[in-house]
């Protein structure tokens, strides 16, 4: 039948567009950052005295540090909380409570980042300001990010825990292991890969998050000394400066975009590898 002959062709064209979009984005990012990649040396992005693009100083390190610190802080909070939530729904809660708690987490996942940022700005920042001025700080950024990645950690951990074979759990119970003993000795090791993959995804999300952090973190380019110091993340920097950047400055922003993309690609590749490992 003729339709069967040309159908794959059309579909292939569609898929080709998807492929081209990716290539295009990559090419454009590289093209726009070319002035820096070719002219200024990459070393300069690490060794310049500071980030003052209008004075010709392009040190990305303070912002990279800010990004990493904020994401790490958020992960340190979100991992135990998310894991506890997942354990709660799978092993501890009676079924009606487990279901409603899961709904709550799903609801949390549906709240857009700008709303988290807004809430952080109007509630968290003034609270922190009363305690340790100026309020807009690394801490505020960490707290907002924690709320945002908590659902990712919880949902993936839940899936990994639920996928542990019932048989294993029953065997453990039959051996007289207590509930926590079962979890610690049997379930967590079996679900480790899946949980780690979820954490990687959450980390990727935290690294790339822009608006919520931009709104609460104060955006001063510096190495923070305490969690109460304001910081600027790479993503926030792009959002703040793209509008007016020209020449080398604009190119450096595109480089930081590429850098961010690279970091996230590494994380999600690791997550995928781990997921595969679990399924085998």
């Amino acid at each position: 039948m003729p339709i069967d002959q040309w159908l794959p062709g059309i579909l292939r064209a569609g898929a080709l567009i998807a492929l081209l979009v990716m290539l295009f984005i990559l090419l454009f990012l590289i093209g726009e950052s070319w002035p820096v990649l070719s002219k200024l040396s990459i070393v300069q992005l690490v060794t310049d005295s500071s980030w003052h693009p209008l004075e010709g100083a392009y040190n990305l390190m303070p912002m990279l540090t800010g990004t990493v610190l904020a994401s790490t802080g958020a992960l340190l909070l979100a991992i135990p909380l998310g894991l506890a939530s997942a354990l709660f729904t799978v092993f501890y809660a009676p079924s009606y409570l487990a279901v409603s708690y899961k709904r709550l987490i799903e609801l949390l996942a549906g709240i857009p980042s700008v709303v988290f940022g807004f809430w952080g700005l109007t509630v968290l920042v003034p609270l922190i300001n009363q305690w340790q001025p100026p309020g807009a700080s690394l801490l505020a950024g960490i707290l907002v990010l924690t709320l945002m990645i908590l659902p990712t950690v919880t949902v993936t951990a839940h899936a990994a825990l639920a996928a542990v074979a019932d048989e294993l759990v029953r065997n453990a119970a039959a051996l007289g292991l207590s509930r926590w003993g079962t979890i610690q000795g049997v379930v967590l090791p079996a679900a480790k890969a899946g949980i780690t993959a979820g954490i990687m995804l959450a980390a990727a999300r935290a690294l790339g998050e822009t608006m919520a952090v931009l709104m609460v973190a104060g955006n001063v380019v510096q190495y923070p000394e305490t969690v109460f110091d304001p910081v600027r993340t790479l993503a926030a920097n792009i959002a703040l400066e793209t509008a007016y950047a020209m020449g080398d400055h604009r190119a450096v922003l595109f480089v930081s975009g590429l850098l961010l993309m690279g970091l996230i690609m590494v994380l999600s590749a690791m997550a995928e590898a781990l997921e595969k490992q679990q399924h085998v």
Binding site: P53, E55, A57, V220, V221, P230, M246
Partner: protein, 280 residues
């Protein structure tokens, strides 16, 4: 199958309604034939917005889009021909000879604090000390015993350039706690934090004070920061508000610039607490 049909019906209905709306919008606007994009300084934008509304009333076939982002954005986008007119809240620099500037108003830059702040006034040296981190608490200046939150503008804003010029410091010497973009954001940061200090356009600040925002403009070197002082030319931190074009303006851009400099808009300039200029 039935579910699929239902879904299809609901969805096509949504799309039809939406597309209908879109085309209706298109039909409404067949009259609009000319478009003018104006971007740049957030100090000038509210004024140009008002002028544009009045211009559109007189010329219904014209549509004027006003976007903010700072003077540097205005210059960048005029140079890239993304915008026909840029808004720049300072005089042009020697290396900007490719541009033509047309002043539409005079403005000053004022130091703002929260209305509850008891500090009476500041001198140039004191401000420089606050912004470079030599003075960190308000009691050194006759205020309460609290840490000063230094609100500073992002790079690429001409308010920042003029301010740095005034305190004779480089941006890399400043130790800020919060970085802000638009004037309104600075005002918001200060009204929301009794220990904060910032600097913004006097016009924007007076506009907010009259609206009842808890905000105070501090006298500078003993001169009250007011539109009146700017008008008399005695305020130490004054500047022109310019519309700039790439080369000589033509057609619609020229028409709009002439309109913006004419006495027909002086009431609008004064309503925004700026000082009108005489075009001739």
């Amino acid at each position: 199958m039935q579910k699929f049909l239902k879904f299809l019906i609901v969805y096509s209905f949504c799309f039809v309604v939406a597309i209908g709306y879109a085309t209706q919008l298109g039909a409404q606007t067949k009259g609009v034939t000319q478009r003018l994009v104006v971007t740049g300084s957030s100090t000038v934008a509210p004024l140009v917005n008002e002028i544009a509304r009045r211009f559109e009333l007189a010329h219904p076939e014209v549509r004027i889009d006003v976007q903010t982002g700072g003077s540097s954005r205005g210059i960048t986008e005029v140079r890239h021909s993304i915008a026909a007119i840029g808004m720049v809240s300072r005089a042009l620099k020697p290396d900007e000879g490719d541009l033509r500037a047309f002043a539409i108003a005079q403005d000053g830059i004022g130091i703002i604090v929260h209305a509850g702040n008891p500090v009476a006034g500041l001198g140039r040296q004191q401000i420089a000390d606050i912004y470079t981190g030599k003075i960190t608490r308000w009691n050194a200046l006759g205020g309460t015993d609290a840490r000063i939150t230094v609100v500073h503008k992002a790079e690429g804003r001409s308010t920042l350039e003029l301010f740095l010029d005034y305190i004779q410091r480089k941006n890399s010497e400043i130790k800020p706690h919060v970085i802000i973009g638009d004037n309104a954001q600075g005002i918001k940061a200060v009204t929301g934090n009794p220990q904060a200090i910032g600097y913004v356009s006097i016009g924007a600040a007076e506009f907010e004070v009259r609206r009842g925002s808890p905000l105070r403009l501090l006298p500078l070197d003993g001169r009250a920061a007011s539109v009146e002082a700017v008008r008399q030319g005695v305020f130490p931190l004054s500047r022109p508000l310019n519309l700039v074009t790439l080369g000589e303006p033509h057609g619609l851009a020229r028409q709009f610039i002439e309109f913006a400099r004419s006495p027909q808009v002086h009431d609008l300039v004064e309503a925004q607490y700026f000082v009108p200029v005489n075009a001739d």
